[in-house]
């Protein structure tokens, strides 16, 4: 059964306090290479068939429920293959 992945990220211009907290912890642990961290969410959706109609539905639900378009962007991919947002 194919799996559709929806990645949701805070928009670039929106403050991401969680990402900042993670970023702030890194130097304390001796990790100094990372210059910024953004934290998002990953949803793995199991479907019977990743056809066009299903993908259209996933885009709709990603926009309606999984993300808040005011503060977040989402991207949809199937089995690791990017299909656009």
């Amino acid at each position: 059964m194919p799996r559709i992945v929806v990645d949701v990220m805070p928009k670039a211009e929106i403050l991401d306090p969680q990402g900042k907290a993670v970023h702030g912890a890194l130097p304390r642990l001796g990790f100094n290479a990372v210059t910024d961290v953004r934290q998002g969410k990953r949803f793995e959706l199991q479907v019977d068939d990743a056809d066009e109609a299903t993908l259209a539905e996933v885009h709709k639900l990603a926009e309606t429920l999984l993300s808040n378009p005011v503060i977040e962007d989402y991207a949809v991919s199937v089995e690791g293959a990017e299909v656009g947002a």
Binding site: P10, E13, I14, L15, P17, Q18, K20, A21, L65, L66, N68, V70, I71
Partner: protein, 223 residues
């Protein structure tokens, strides 16, 4: 005047909100998230708390609760609707109010008595205050940072839709110190601090919160 208070799974301040309605002279009506029924109320309050555990995003799941179909329709028809804290988040997720509320910029939950300035005293929920008046009511939130794009913020300020602003230090990173906003029509009001905890001298910092509830009752009585 009957004012309904919706209880969602995880609502915390529904009982305090009903008590505030009663102290303000209204008749509180308990509404249930799972019912497609507003029981003939004249106004609705979405109370504070952590509806659906704040899973996904604050208010994101509550927005699709059965009762919200009726609340959204009634709000669009002009019924006074107040969302406090989690209720404000639900109103934003429902697109009844613009913008969104994100985690506090300092990343900690904050609980304190907060000074606010009334900016607009002509909404359904604020006529018992005067513009420029400062009030003190409790604030308690982890995700109370109000954000919107610059164009939306300019419009909110230009149209007088900023009803309440933080004074004496911004507690959560809200843009332009915004603590509460209304829609264009002035009947839907979202507020991050908690007026329902400031309605009696015995508890809380005073009775400064009562005016929001008495305002709505007056607005309804004068219709």
């Amino acid at each position: 005047m009957k004012i309904g208070v919706v209880t969602f799974p995880g609502s915390l301040d529904d009982v305090d909100a009903r008590r505030a309605v009663r102290l303000a002279g209204g008749e509180p009506v308990a509404l249930w998230h799972g019912d497609h029924d507003l029981q003939g109320v004249d106004a609705v309050i979405l109370p504070g708390g952590f509806s659906y555990g704040d899973y996904l995003r604050c208010g994101a799941i509550a927005r699709f609760a059965p009762v919200m179909t009726e609340v959204v329709a009634a709000a669009q028809g002009g019924m006074p609707v107040l969302g406090i804290c989690n209720g404000f988040q639900i109103l934003c997720e429902s697109h009844l109010l613009p913008g969104a509320l994100i985690r506090n910029d300092h990343r900690t939950f904050i609980c304190r008595d907060q000074v606010l300035r009334i900016e607009n005293d002509s909404t359904a929920w604020s006529t018992d205050y005067t513009a420029g008046q400062e009030i003190t009511i409790p604030l308690k939130n982890g995700e109370g940072g109000f954000v919107a794009d610059a164009e939306t913020l300019d419009r909110l300020e230009g149209e007088g839709q900023v009803v309440v602003r933080y004074v004496g230090g911004n507690p959560n990173g809200s843009l332009r110190d915004i603590a509460g906003i209304t829609n264009e029509r002035g009947n839907v009001f979202g507020l991050m601090p908690h007026p329902e905890h400031a309605v009696e001298d015995l508890t809380g910092p005073g009775t400064d919160g009562l005016g929001f509830f008495t305002s709505a009752i007056k607005a309804l009585t004068s219709v």
